[in-house]
């Protein structure tokens, strides 16, 4: 069964008092309450409740809580910055390791065998050398990362 205009408006009154209606709905409610004393009265009641809710006393956080929260959040912010820095360093180390690896091999060949040796197939030897350089670079990079992280942890503990 279709709702009457009066019933439809009554459904909107609570939201109307909350300032939560669309402009069109607001205008509709305003038009209706001019002619309907019942809805006008009810809207006023909703408004009183809404006003009461807006005026509820604000509980204050206990003394000390805010300072504790502030101190902990500052530590966390610093830790996050450390973590980001560590990640950046690690990324740099990885890139550096790869650059060293890729550059070392042609340089080594250039120095030891001249330019032509670069295009010489010699795959087996090439791969062994490549693997050796890679291992060296990664071990070096990993070691640097571990040292860095130990150093940071020590610093944090001292702080």
């Amino acid at each position: 069964m279709a709702m009457s205009e009066h019933d439809e408006i009554r459904e909107l009154l609570a939201l109307g008092a909350s300032g939560a209606l669309e402009r069109e709905e607001e205008e509709r409610v305003a038009r209706h309450i001019r002619a309907c004393a019942l809805c006008s009265e009810e809207l006023e009641e909703w408004r009183l409740i809404a006003t009461g809710l807006r005026r509820l006393p604000t509980p204050q956080p206990p003394r000390g809580l805010v300072e504790r929260a502030r101190a902990r959040a500052e530590v966390r912010l610093a830790e996050e910055a450390d973590r980001r820095w560590n990640r950046g360093v690690l990324a740099f180390v990885i890139v550096f390791a790869w650059v060293i690896t890729l550059l070392s091999w042609p340089l080594f060949r250039l120095v030891t065998g001249g330019f032509l040796s670069l295009v010489e197939p010699g795959l087996n030897k090439a791969w062994i050398a490549f693997a050796a350089f890679t291992t060296l670079a990664w071990v070096g990079g990993g070691g640097a990362a571990i040292l860095l992280s130990l150093h940071q942890r020590r610093e944090r503990r001292l702080a």
Binding site: S18, A20, W46, L53, R54, P57, P59, Q60, R72, A73
Partner: protein, 192 residues
């Protein structure tokens, strides 16, 4: 906007900006958490967790978004997770363990005398607060965000992660429930 500057500074790791934001929002965040979990000790713990979470996630905050809504979303998610973990039944109010469906506010109110004309505003606020406390959490959060935090419906929708239409429905139903409780417990009470 000053607030945006603080957020931008915080994103760069400025501790003063963090301090300013905590000072600005401390009462509102605490009030919101207390309205959701209702236990001061739990609200205090969640208050600290909210700022820790903010410190962890601020770098990922998109400054084109509304900071307040984002902050209250962090607080709300922590509070809801907490309730789900610690008191899952509290997500389906009324008060758990009460076979008659009577709420904490009902019990508190039932000890009081019937309302009389000219009652003090403080008492009215207490009763309204009790009625609010007795609402289910999904209604309570919408009411507090709308009336205490004065958020727009779109912002509330963002905080509670629900469509706008759902927020409207919850707001309307929560007010209706609130009114029914008030009228039942304090018939004839003058709210002016």
């Amino acid at each position: 906007m000053a607030r945006d500057t603080e957020v931008a500074r915080l994103k760069r790791g400025d501790l003063d900006a963090l301090s300013e934001l905590i000072t600005r929002y401390q009462n509102r965040v605490y009030r919101f958490l207390l309205r959701i979990v209702r236990e001061p000790a739990e609200a205090e713990d969640l208050f600290q967790q909210t700022w820790l979470r903010l410190a962890e996630r601020i770098r990922h905050f998109d400054e084109s978004r509304n900071f307040e809504a984002w902050l209250f979303t962090l607080a709300r998610n922590l509070a809801i997770d907490h309730l789900r973990r610690i008191r899952p039944a509290s997500l389906d109010e009324p008060v758990p363990g009460d076979s008659r469906g009577e709420t904490a506010a009902d019990r508190l109110a039932s000890r009081e005398r019937p309302a009389i004309e000219g009652i003090l505003e403080r008492e009215r606020a207490t009763r309204l607060g009790e009625a609010l406390e007795a609402l289910p959490v999904s209604y309570r959060e919408v009411v507090t965000l709308r009336f205490e935090e004065e958020m727009k419906l779109e912002e509330i929708a963002q905080v509670v992660g629900a469509p706008l239409s759902t927020v409207k429905t919850r707001l309307r139903r929560s007010l209706e429930q609130l009114r029914i409780r008030l009228e039942r417990k304090h018939p004839g009470m003058d709210w002016q």
